[in-house]
Subunit: 168 residues, 2 copies
Amino acid sequence: MPSNSDRAHVGLDAHPTFLLAQLGVHTTEQFAALLTPLGIQPRHVAVLSTLIDREGLSQQQLCESLRIHRNVMVGMVDDLEQRGLLTRRRHPVQRRAHALHVLPAGEELLREAEAVLDRYETDLLEPFDPDQRILLLEFLQRLGVRSGVRAVRHIDVGGGCGADPAPD
Amino acid sequence: MPSNSDRAHVGLDAHPTFLLAQLGVHTTEQFAALLTPLGIQPRHVAVLSTLIDREGLSQQQLCESLRIHRNVMVGMVDDLEQRGLLTRRRHPVQRRAHALHVLPAGEELLREAEAVLDRYETDLLEPFDPDQRILLLEFLQRLGVRSGVRAVRHIDVGGGCGADPAPD
């Protein structure tokens, strides 16, 4: 195997980094376009989905889990709250934080968005047979863990998405 | 198999769309950080790499191939030209366009950037055995073709990344 400096030039198609970058942008744009009738974006789906799985997360835990910047998250949670999709309640443990809970209207909207996502992914994965779909998902999850973008298994490590200790 | 409306909620980790979005952003950020000493960003690497493979592309063909907006591409090509990394020459066929060519300094910088990328990807793919690496790459390429982000095989279909017919 040649050393790095001897390695021949290969095109972008042979680099997972570039393929992932292009696929990430492109599939998100396609999903976002399909979501337009529901008045939400993929990141709102991510927030609602995460809160369904992990009810009562604080805003700080949420932005950490989704790697969305605190300032962006504040606006999104305000927006979702104003639309009656989620609510902030007193946090049972952290005195200065609020726990976030999805309201019934949020659950319903998430169900609709997930139906859109399922149809999109069914189409996207059409060239893959069932075993390959499982393997693809496993590969992406493994890359997620390796690159640090996904927790090994939903582990809250404390800390936050910023040094700002202000309550949320 | 349940219909879409009956399908149970599954977490973001079970959706390739969200995994690709997160991986795309995160791995690009990591690669960008490693590139900092070279004074370029991943998109510059994409431009130089594409032009090495397809010498003499017009700016319009380049932005179409990389799905980078025309206005962004103009600034990038200006920047790379000012740094002596590529040059615009008269296009042999399209009277109002310029053909882009990588200069020796650009080839050298690309070689250095690709060494950085190879090291990054060697680390990223560490949990995959050689057969799995090939399969992962094939899966990502197949997704690229399916989603329309990658041409089936470098086919220039004409048109452009904007309706603007101005020369480049």
